[in-house]
Symmetry: C4
Subunit: 205 residues, 4 copies
C-alpha cells in the first residue's frame, strides 16, 4: 500500500469538506428592490451560520493536523487494514458538513447539538482505533514517551469533552457547545499542552 495516495485522498476529502462548509451560508432572496438596511439585517440573521462555519473549519483543521501527525510520525507504513480504518475515519469527516449545516440552522436545539457531538465522537474513536492499530502492528520504539503521553492525553480529553457535551445537552445546549470547542485549544493551538503541564504541575514524560 502506498502512503502517498492514502494521504492524497485524505487531503482531498478534508479540502472538499472544509471548503463546502461555506455553502451552508445563504442569503435570503429579496424580490424587487432591496435596501442596504435589509442586507445588513440579513447578515445578522445568518451570523450563526458564519460562526458555525468558522468553528467547524477550525474543528476540521484540528482533525487534519492530528491526521497529518498520525500518518507522519506514528505510522511508518500502510497496510490494507489501516487503509480500511482510514476510509471509515474519512466517512465521518465527510459527514461533518451535514452536522454543521444542522447545527447552523438549529444551534439552540438538542438534536442538532447531539448529532454534532456524536459526529465528533465518532471521528475521535476512529482516530483512536487507528492509533491503537498502528501501535499494535508497527510498535512504538521510534516514538518518545512524551509523544505517546501527549497523544493519550489528547485522546482522553477529546472523548471526555464530546461525551460530556452530549450528556450536558440535556441540561443546557450552550454548555455543550463550549465543551466541543475545548479540544480545539489543546490540539490546534501550539503550546497549550506545555502550559497546562506547568500550570497543574504534572509531567507528560
Amino acid at each position: 500500500m502506498n502512503k502517498a495516495r492514502l494521504e492524497a485522498l485524505s487531503d482531498g476529502v478534508f479540502a472538499v469538506a472544509m471548503t463546502l462548509l461555506v455553502f451552508d451560508i445563504k442569503l435570503p432572496n429579496f424580490p424587487g428592490t432591496v435596501m442596504d438596511a435589509q442586507l445588513w439585517h440579513a447578515l445578522t440573521i445568518i451570523s450563526p451560520h458564519i460562526v458555525v462555519y468558522m468553528s467547524t473549519f477550525v474543528v476540521l483543521s484540528t482533525m487534519w493536523v492530528n491526521h497529518h501527525f498520525l500518518f507522519q510520525t506514528f505510522a511508518l507504513e500502510v497496510d490494507r487494514r489501516l487503509n480500511l480504518l482510514n476510509l471509515l475515519y474519512l466517512m465521518f469527516i465527510a459527514f461533518v458538513p451535514f452536522s454543521a449545516s444542522f447545527i447552523g440552522a438549529y444551534s439552540d436545539h438538542q438534536p442538532a447539538v447531539i448529532l454534532y457531538g456524536v459526529n465528533l465522537l465518532a471521528i475521535t474513536f476512529m482516530s483512536v482505533f487507528i492509533v491503537v492499530y498502528v501501535f499494535h502492528t508497527q510498535g512504538t520504539e521510534h516514538l518518545s514517551d512524551r509523544l505517546l503521553n501527549q497523544s493519550r492525553f489528547r485522546s482522553v480529553l477529546n472523548i471526555v469533552c464530546y461525551l460530556l457535551g452530549i450528556l450536558l445537552s440535556f441540561v443546557n445546549v450552550y454548555v455543550s457547545l463550549v465543551l466541543y470547542i475545548v479540544p480545539v485549544i489543546f490540539n490546534f493551538i501550539p503550546g497549550t499542552l506545555d502550559f497546562t503541564e506547568r500550570f497543574f504541575g504534572f509531567d507528560l514524560g
Copy 2:
C-alpha cells in the same frame, strides 16, 4: 504518460464524489418556531439517506482500494490508451452521487435499484477492461498466481452480484440491495477472501 498525475486526478475525483454524497442529506425547512420532537422526527425521516450515504461511501472506498491496487501493483506504466480507459472509469465513478441520491430518495423502487446496480456494473466492467488491457500490454510476469486468481475471483464475484441484483429487482428490491453489498465484504474487509478459501476448501494459488 505520467502515472502520478493520473493518480492525482483519480484521487481528486474520488475525494470529491465521496465528500459530495453528504449533500444529498437535507433537513426539511421548518417555518416559524420548531420543537425538538419535530427535529428528531425529521432525522428519522432522512435516515434512509444517511444509510445510503454510509453504504455508498463504503462502496466508493472499495472501488478506490481496487483502483489503488490496480495502478500500484498491476500497471507498471501508463500509456495513452490506459489513460483513456481510466478516464471512462472515472466518468462512472463521478456518476455515483446521482445514482446514490436517486436510491436515497426511492430505495424501495425498482428504477432506482436498477440504476444503482447498472452504475456499479459499469464501474466493474471498466475496471475489468483496464486489468485486461494492462495484462495484455505489460504482461503478468511480475505478479504471483495467487494475486491473479484473487483478482479474477473478485471481478467475477462483483459482476455476478451486480447482474443478479439487477435481475432480482424484478422479484424483490431488498434482495438486490443485499447483493450490492456482498462485493464490499470481499474487496474491502481484509481476510474475508482467505477465510472463504479455508471455509470452502478451495485454493486461489
Copy 3:
C-alpha cells in the same frame, strides 16, 4: 516556480469540475406516493442531462489529456507568465459546468449551443497561447517534428470545429453539437490521427 504545484492545482480544478457535472442531473420531486412508471418516465425526461454529463466529461477529459501532455512533454519548466496563462486557462475550464448545465437544459436552443462553443473555443485559444509561449521561451529542440505537427494539426482542427459549430448554430444546432464532438475523436481516442494520415495520404512528419 514549482511545476508540481501548478499541476496539483490544475488536477484539482479538473477533478472538481468533472465531478460536479453530475449535480446538474436532478430528478423532479414527487409529492406523495410515486409509481415506478413515473420514475422511469422521469429518467427519460432527464436523459438529455445524462447525455450532456457524459459528453462533457469526455470533453473535459480530452482537455485534461492535452494539458497533461503539454506540461509533461512541451514545458520543461514553469515561470510566472506561464503560471498566469495556466490560471486563465483554468478559469475557462471551471466555467464548463455552467455551460454544460445551460446546454443540458436547452440543448435545442441557439444561446446554449453558442455559449458552450465559445467556452470550448476560449479553452482552445488559451491552450494555444500556452503552447506558443512555451515554444517561444523554452524552444522546441527537445521535440520531434512529428509531435509539433500533430500538435498544430489538433489546434487548428479544434479551432475550426468550434468556430464552424458556433457559425452553423444559425442554421441548425444539431450540426453544431456534432462539430463540438469531432475534436474529441482526434484528441482522446488513440490512433485516430495515425489512421487519418494513412487514409488521406498525408504525413505529419
Copy 4:
C-alpha cells in the same frame, strides 16, 4: 511537519473554492416553451455574476500565486505554528465563494462591497502574519533585498487598496470595486512592478 501535505491541502482548498465559484451563476427556470430571445435576455441579466466569477477567479489566482511563492521561496520548513496560521488563512480563502456570491447578487450595495473587501483584507492580514512569522523563525538570509522589498511593497499596496476600498464604499461602491482590482495588477501580471519602479523612478533594491 510535512510541507508537501500542507501544500496539498492548500491546493485542494484553492481548487475547490475556485471551481465552485461558477455555481453561483444560475439561469432562471422558464416554465413551458422558451424562446431564444428569453435565453439571451436571461444571459444579460446574469452577466454581473459572470463578471464576478471571472474577477474572483483572478483574485483567488493572485492569492494562490502569492501562497505558492511564500511557501516556495520564503518558508524553508513548516512547524506547528506555521501550519496553524496557514489553516486560518485557508479559512478566509474558503469563505470567498460566499462573499463573491453576495457581491454577485448585490454588486451596487454597500454591505456586499464591504464584506468582499473585509474578506480580502483578512486574507492579506493572515498572509502578512505568515510572512512575519516565517521571517522571524527562519530568517531572511536566503532572500535578496529586492525580493523582500517587493514583498513589503505588495503587502502594503494590498492593505491600502482594500482598506481604502472599504472606506470609500461610503462614498461610491464602484470606486471600491476598482480599488479591489488594483492589487491583482501588481501581484498577478508579471512585469508591472518593474514598470512601476522605472516609471516613478524608485528602486526596490
